[in-house]
Amino acid sequence: MKIIVPMKRVPDPDNVDKVKISSDGKRVSSEGLDWKPNPFDEYAVEAALRLVKDSGTDKTTGEVIVASIGPEEATHQVRWCLAMGADRGILVLGDDHELDASVVARALKKLVEKESPDLVLMGKQAVDGDSNQTAQILAGMLGWPQATFAGRIETPADLSRATVTREVDGGCATVTVKFPAVISVDVRIVTPQAVNNNMIPPDKLNRDGPRYASLTGIMKAKKKPMDRYTLEDLGVDTTQRVKTISFSQPPARSGGVILDTVGELVQRLKEEARVL
């Protein structure tokens, strides 16, 4: 089984105070920010590793490829995912300002045509732009089945299909998709029992959250291959569908009040905020 995990590098969410908007209002400046893999994509890497790797015995039943579209520095975040246990990396050089979900989806489609994976497993959205579109557009372009917001994934031992529990408003929806497919994951995919491939025994080492890059993993990752392409190499149509008119900072928060009783809260929600 071959899995491609698209991974975007995003500013560390802890840097929120450092984000600045350029004076013309056209861009978000990324100067001086720390970067990390988009958390939802890191969860997708974890889910992919749980699907095909047995960390207890080093047994593997598939390949995990981490693909990123970004500047040269994004190799760092790809290497990070390789240190977690993914097999190889792909970097497609591209500047954030030239990309929107449709350009990214078109680039991923080209990679899918090159690599013919059985599954594209990705985060439901990136925590910087929060578009939540790429997985859906990609599945549409490929004509593949899609299961978004996965909180659980179960596959039979022959890895022919996946039963996915999707986190939707008001509850869970369970769908079965045949491979090849596109699945996007939500946060609960990294709970200890969330991925079951009915082949590798439920791994006792599965902890809550994505795994650490272990020291041996980091050493191995040094030698793992990383392919580089440009959008041009892949023949990607780079026309953006989304035009950014301007960015602005959210209004500064005004001071809150601490209320003594729930009764008081209900009263003020009713009378002042008029939301009840």
Partner: protein, 381 residues
């Protein structure tokens, strides 16, 4: 940012260690401080994470990394918020076990070093005695040969991990009439009859860690537990000291830097006389002074780490590094308490704990005064 010391891989490892410290250890720091104890699973988890064998060769289960991975590890340790645990882990990886790596036979490494790196066996180093600290040659514990055994008698004190250790790398006199050239090292299993822990010592800081007094009464140690050759133990202990002092220096710098980081947050939000503390020039200058001291010590220590990675025995430089960094850490953290005012003195802010823990560093592993004597001798005074 590119530096001569740290590559991309070092920085990935830094995130791993930081995440581990912040999510698996820090939440328990206060509880362990209160209990004056910590659970032994920490060694196992540290072993699984590869923290206990960073620079050891792969044949014994280590990762064979360069020394700057160790630097990264020591720099992130203070984020556990628990000096006692950090000390226990460093004794395991950098004080008790290096002699086994250097001197051990294949069988000794298999039996002791491999499980120590996995965190399955806990180790301690037994050198200090009531009347012999840095004056190692004056130890009085004896190991008398009797057929296939050595019979060990004596006492040791200030032994970290002493109450929980499975094995102690023990220094004893095999020729009591001689000084430094009559000393040998042994691997002493703590389940042997005649070994006992006479006291767990109460300390100023490092509360979770067990610091003990040990007694050896006719402990019969099989002769194949002799580490290296008879009467050569002193030299190994002396070389081992460099590694111990270096990790102390790195951790001291990192500890001071972390306290300063917290203090900077504090002075920005704490208001007095209508404005944040940080808006007073005296605060700013104090903080910058501390930053200068930290950065100067940090880069001198990096230099020593590089030297250590090359030749293993830069005694003069490491001694300078230990003085610079540990004395600086005590000074800096003391000033940070001052900037916190009354809150700095309160337990709940954790800053007085950092001070109590850091205070040990100018004493343990060779006092500042001993370091000065070492340096004095080496520069021909």
């Amino acid at each position: 940012m590119k530096t001569p010391w740290f590559t991309e891989e070092h920085e990935i490892f830094r995130r791993t260690v930081r995440k581990f410290m912040e999510t698996e250890l820090a939440p328990h720091a206060e509880e362990w401080e209160e209990q004056k104890d910590f659970p032994n699973w920490i060694f196992k988890r540290a072993g699984e994470m590869g923290f206990l064998g960073i620079t050891y060769p792969e044949e014994v289960g280590g990762s064979g990394c360069d020394y700057f991975y160790k630097v990264v590890y020591c720099e992130e340790l203070p984020r556990s918020g628990c000096g006692g645990v950090n000390m226990a882990l460093l004794v395991q990886s950098d004080m008790g076990s290096p002699p086994i790596n250097i001197l051990g036979t294949k069988e000794q490494k298999e039996e002791y070093l491999v499980p120590i790196i996995k965190g399955e066996k806990i180790c301690a180093i037994g050198v200090t005695e009531p009347n012999a600290g840095s004056d190692v040659a004056a130890i009085r514990t004896t190991a008398r040969r009797d057929g296939d055994y050595y019979v060990i008698n004596g006492t040791k004190t200030f032994i970290t991990n002493g109450a929980r250790a499975d094995v102690i790398t023990l220094a004893a006199k095999t020729d009591p009439d001689k000084g430094y050239d009559g000393m040998s090292l042994f691997l002493l299993d703590t389940d042997l009859p005649g070994f006992s822990v006479s006291r767990k010592l109460e300390k100023m800081g490092m509360h979770p860690s067990d610091t003990t007094e040990l007694v050896f009464e006719d402990v019969r140690v099989p002769k194949d537990k002799l580490l290296g050759e008879e009467n050569t133990g002193f030299f190994e202990v002396m070389i081992n000291f460099q590694g111990e002092r270096l990790v102390a220096a790195i951790s001291a710098v990192a500890g001071a830097a972390l306290v300063l980081e917290k203090t900077m947050e504090y002075v920005k939000q704490r208001e007095v006389f209508g404005k944040p503390l940080s808006k007073f020039q005296v605060t700013r200058h104090k903080i910058v002074d501390m930053l200068c001291e930290i950065e100067a010590a940090r880069h001198y220590v990096y230099h020593c780490c590089w030297l250590f990675d090359q030749d293993k025995n830069p005694a003069k430089e490491v001694s300078i590094a230990k003085i610079l960094s540990t004395e600086m850490a005590v000074r800096v953290i003391n000033q940070c308490i001052q900037l916190h005012g009354g809150y700095g003195y309160m337990r709940e802010y954790g800053i007085e704990r950092a001070f109590r823990d850091a205070r040990l560093a100018t004493i343990g592993g060779g006092t500042t005064e001993i370091m000065k004597e070492v340096i004095g001798k080496m520069i021909g005074l």
